[in-house]
């Protein structure tokens, strides 16, 4: 055992160890039993379940492990649950999709698990090095997953675009981090906060803040760093797009909160203004661009950009309530966004690509259950009661007003109104009866896809009607971020 380590340090990263082990087993199994996709799916899901068990077991802790590199606290636990949960739903919707596309399952599940591992380290990293390695592990897995449809040129384009722009943005991020290290002499976030406490911000620190924000802005697909998102979301296999837009975005927000709220609280004045501007342009550009999309995946990509803008409001607020509201919205977004992509993935059949808006024509007749599920997801994304999306928006906007950002909340409300147009357009398409539509193969939902859709619908509806559980866990998680202004007590 290395000096300064104890068995506890390894005990605390059991969820990560389980995921790593599971990923390796899946990789081995794919060689031993190459054509048994159901076995691979089962092992992957079991891995996620075991990891979830250990995350839940550590949920009440608030300690640092591995010499302060990792925080095992409620905030980390929340985002680990989000990462593992989105991975599980992604796997469920992947299994039929892989069969239709004729893709190899072994490496696919391995890469999904490794991306999840990266996200988990992004959630609990308390050191720039740990955070960066986590981010890179996740990013490299996604570069490959985006190009997993090898014969499809759009998938190739998605992988190359994501890789080149991703590598560039990582360079920008690293440059910012290296300036921070140069100024403070430490990579630990607590050390950075201590070194900068009470110091005047200089041009160098402002440059570091801008560079780190730009690097993270790319990962959360905030405008003006969003140009990759529509192309990558459209070209990547649909379940990968779902995972990218939920897991990757959530983990990047976790990293962003850790770096800015825990590492750089003394530069709050600088980055609050920066994120205020980012949030406004992100939600506005995202929503306006989504209005004219005829491809479902592109539309959801722009909608996901807009949601990054909403989520940034929690960071701008910078209060405990702001962070809690952001966590609530991440939890809600998980279900509605995964669900919407699950419907798109289910539309993929041997003879239909199914990602165009017009492919939904008459869906209410062909598969009423799917149409109703999609209806819930669209209402939730638009923020209409009684869905979870409404609760999330109420909390986020309330937190922004509470922290004194009234105009930001006003702009966000106006944006939500605009977004209703394109979400409801999807619903209109599903209820159009077009008898002239060419006959295509029937929609058959296998057990795995049904499970994915049921999980997403239940989450969207239940958290809309009984959000208390989500509120309580988000509030508990937000207390783990130290040094936040409390804000007035949240609405109950």
């Amino acid at each position: 055992m290395p000096e300064g380590f104890s068995a506890l340090d390894f005990y605390y990263i059991l969820p990560e160890i389980v995921v790593t082990g599971g990923a390796l087993v899946v990789l081995l199994l794919s060689v031993v039993t190459p054509r048994r996709d159901d076995v691979l799916l089962g092992v992957s899901l079991a891995t996620v379940a075991a990891a979830l068990y250990w995350v839940a077991a550590f949920a009440g802790l608030d300690v640092t492990a591995s010499k302060g590199l990792l925080a095992i606290d409620g905030f980390a636990a929340f985002f680990k649950v989000v990462a593992l949960g989105s991975a599980a739903v992604t796997m469920l919707m992947s299994s039929p999709y892989l069969r239709v596309e004729g893709l190899r399952a072994g490496e696919y599940y391995f890469l999904i698990l490794c991306a999840t591992l990266g996200m988990m380290f992004m959630a609990s990293g308390m050191d720039l090095i740990t955070l960066f390695i986590g981010l890179e592990t996740m990013a490299v897995s996604f570069y490959v997953l985006a190009g997993y449809l090898k014969p499809n040129p759009r998938s190739n384009e998605a992988a190359v675009k994501y890789f080149l722009l991703g590598a560039f943005s990582l360079g920008v991020l690293l440059y910012g981090m290296s300036i921070l290290y140069g100024v403070t002499g430490t990579t630990s976030l607590e050390g950075t906060a201590a070194a900068l406490a009470g110091q005047e911000s200089g041009p160098l620190l402002v440059l570091a803040v801008v560079l780190v924000a730009a690097g993270m802005g790319f990962k959360i697909a905030a405008v003006p760093f969003h140009m990759w998102a529509p192309d990558v979301y459209e070209g990547a296999p649909t379940p990968v797009t779902a995972f990218l837009s939920v897991g990757s975005k959530a983990a990047s927000f976790a990293m962003l909160v850790r770096i800015f709220l825990e590492g750089l609280p003394s530069l709050g004045a600088e980055w609050t203004a920066l994120f205020w501007g980012l949030a406004v342009v992100t939600m506005t550009v995202g929503n306006i661009a989504a209005l004219t999309q005829s491809n479902l995946k592109r539309m959801l990509a722009y909608s996901s950009i807009a949601h990054a803008g909403y989520l940034l409001m929690g960071v701008v607020a910078g209060t405990q309530r702001g962070v809690a509201a952001m966590l609530v919205y991440v939890g809600v977004y998980l279900f509605m966004q995964l669900g919407a992509f699950a419907v798109v993935a289910a539309m993929r059949r041997s003879d239909v690509v199914g990602d165009e808006l017009k492919d939904l024509t008459g869906l209410s007749r062909r598969s009423p259950m799917m149409a109703f599920a999609m209806l819930f997801f669209m209402l939730s994304l638009g923020g209409i009661p009684p869905t979870a999306g409404f609760m999330g928006k109420v909390w986020l906007f309330g937190a922004a007003i509470d922290a004194g950002f009234v105009w930001l909340a006003v702009i966000a409300v106006a944006n939500s109104a605009v977004s209703l147009y394109y979400y409801l357009r999807v619903v209109v398409f599903m209820w159009i009866n077009d008898e002239t539509a060419p006959a295509s193969s029937p929609l058959v939902l296998g057990p795995a896809m049904t499970a994915a859709l049921v999980v997403a619908v239940v989450g969207t509806v239940v958290f809309g009607l009984y959000p208390q559980f989500l509120f309580a866990s988000a509030e508990a998680a937000a207390t783990a971020i130290e040094g936040l202004g409390a804000g007035t007590s949240a609405l109950r």
């Binding site: 380590f5 990789l27 010499k67 890469l111």
Partner: protein
């Protein structure tokens, strides 16, 4: 003072070579500029008294990785034939220049660091470690304080390897 002069000279060189890498029209030239760039970074490490990192920089980046780049460049260029094959001796000269540069670099590092690999040369910020040279200190840090990120980096490399195979494999 001497350190400042060395740093600014190297900084100008590194930036200039970096610009050259992305502005040269010929891919092979840009790879050569990249090698020079890496070598300058290695010298920067020596100035910082991180001799071990400097050697690694030369061996792994200037040596291994750039050789891989050259392989790729030449394999890709095969399709657009003549340009790269006009003058076989040019390639030989390039190879000679490259290996000469690497040799010089290594020799420089060895000469510079001769007799310096003692506790006295340990960087000021290295903390209370008792290890002797900076190779030991680096190893010590990697396998104690930064053990977890180090292990995650190995997963990262595995992902990159699996990914490369997945994308490059010809489907049967």
């Amino acid at each position: 003072m001497a350190e400042a002069i060395a740093f600014y000279t190297l900084a100008v060189l590194i930036l200039g070579l970096g610009v050259a890498v992305i502005t040269t029209p010929k891919t092979v030239h840009s790879v050569v500029f990249l090698v020079l760039n890496f070598l300058c970074v290695a010298v920067l490490y020596v100035v910082l008294r991180a001799e071990f990192l400097a050697v690694i920089q030369v061996l792994v980046y200037a040596g291994g990785i750039v050789v891989l780049y050259l392989f790729v460049v030449m394999l890709v260029n095969l399709k657009r034939a003549p340009e790269a094959h006009e003058d076989p001796r040019r390639l030989a000269r390039l190879g000679l220049a490259l290996s000469g540069a690497v040799l010089l670099e290594l020799a420089g590092i060895v000469v510079y660091s001769y007799g310096r690999v003692t506790p006295a040369s340990a960087p000021a910020a290295a903390g209370p470690l008792t290890g002797a040279g900076n190779t030991e200190e680096l190893g010590w840090l990697l396998y104690t304080d930064y053990l977890i990120p180090f292990e995650v980096a190995s997963v990262l490399l595995l992902v990159a390897m699996v990914g490369a195979i997945v994308l490059a494999r010809r489907e049967s």
